[in-house]
């Protein structure tokens, strides 16, 4: 038993747990940014993430997003607005499945200037 504990302690001391979750490192546009135009909505993760749902909501309601990366697990998700993006405040809300199976969700906002 003592030997088992020592072996376990040694293994623990020699290792650090790596990432089991992926989190959003950065987004385009950046959280809270004011931009002139929106060509792409992008989110970068530090571990593959399968984006299962995403909505872009602005002053005129929901804006269609054309997924460039589909449903595959990706380190960077990209989607293009389907039409013109009018000036105003926008929110992106997303849901996804992390590679460890956890359901994830998040949101970020930005403003399109006049």
């Amino acid at each position: 038993m003592t030997r088992l504990i020592l072996a376990l302690a040694a293994m623990v001391a020699l290792t650090t747990a790596a990432l089991a979750h992926s989190k959003t490192d950065a987004t385009t546009p950046a959280e809270g940014a004011t931009v002139d135009t929106v060509e792409v909505i992008a989110m970068r993760f530090d571990d593959p993430m399968r984006i299962t749902a995403i909505t872009l909501t602005g002053p005129d309601g929901e804006v269609d997003l054309v997924r460039e990366t589909g449903f595959d697990p990706v380190m960077e998700f990209r989607g293009m607005p389907g039409g013109a993006v009018a000036p105003g405040a926008y929110t992106v809300e997303w849901r996804g499945l992390a590679s460890d199976g956890h359901p994830m969700q998040g949101s970020f906002g930005f403003t399109v200037a006049d």
């Binding site: 376990l8 623990v12 747990a17 990432l19 749902a53 499945l97 199976g101 956890h102 969700q105």
Partner: protein
Amino acid sequence: MEGLAPIDGWAFVAILAKAAGYAAALVAMGGPLFVATFRSAPGGALRLARMLAAGAAVVGLAVLAVRFGIRSARISGMGLDGAVDPIMLGLVWDSPLGTAALWHGVGAVLILGILIDGAMGLSASLLGALLVAVSHAVVGHSLGDPRWLLGGLVGAHLLAGAFWVGALAPLHRAADLAGSAALLHRFGTIASGAVAVLVLVGLTFAWLMIGSLSGLVGTAYGWTLIAKLALVAGLLGLAAGNKLRLVPALASGDPSASGRLRRAIRMEMVAVALILLATATLTSITTPPVNL
């Protein structure tokens, strides 16, 4: 608080379903362990252990199916419609939860072998218990690095926990039967070892997930773990009282000991339920500090 996921109604339902799944898995795994360890236990206690294990194995599969629907609803953002959406269900099936479901499904069917008398049935059910333990090691936080160590710790934690949790109802039944003091005494001796494993591997896993004192007191994961440990301390106190006080009283022929012991075991069951809720919260809506 850092590392806390957004909590909506679906997250709440997911936690309840996961805790129910943990309870079913532990009872289903614990039955074969009880029968294999205490073959000379009173017939009534062994029968109850067999029936509960088989029932829990079936209930566990139903809970797993419900959890697929809940997860599908959560990732779709479509509510109840998402729970039965074939595309979303397919994505969940492709995720580690699908792999876990396969291991769990085969394990649950093998556990039903406990209903068959003889060594073959018991061996099948013990293998089933092992597979259900493995099913919990192939999903979630145990998929971090070092994966084999984390998975092994989770498996050992579950088997030791199942030995204890699965024995509660049969021991509750046995405490009412004549000649049960020897069984209860023997359980207390073996459980001391199982609890040592349970606590040791649990704390090792927690250490790998947290990594620092600030991670413990500065994050949602840390505080949920502290809540779980407080409940565990209460459970250990109850168990120690049973082993050191009530079981010796039962052995010495104290007429009130049986009733007090049965009440204490029922309180242990309540403590276990709360611990499973804390664990489901820990594994559902908090991020381990090492991943922040």
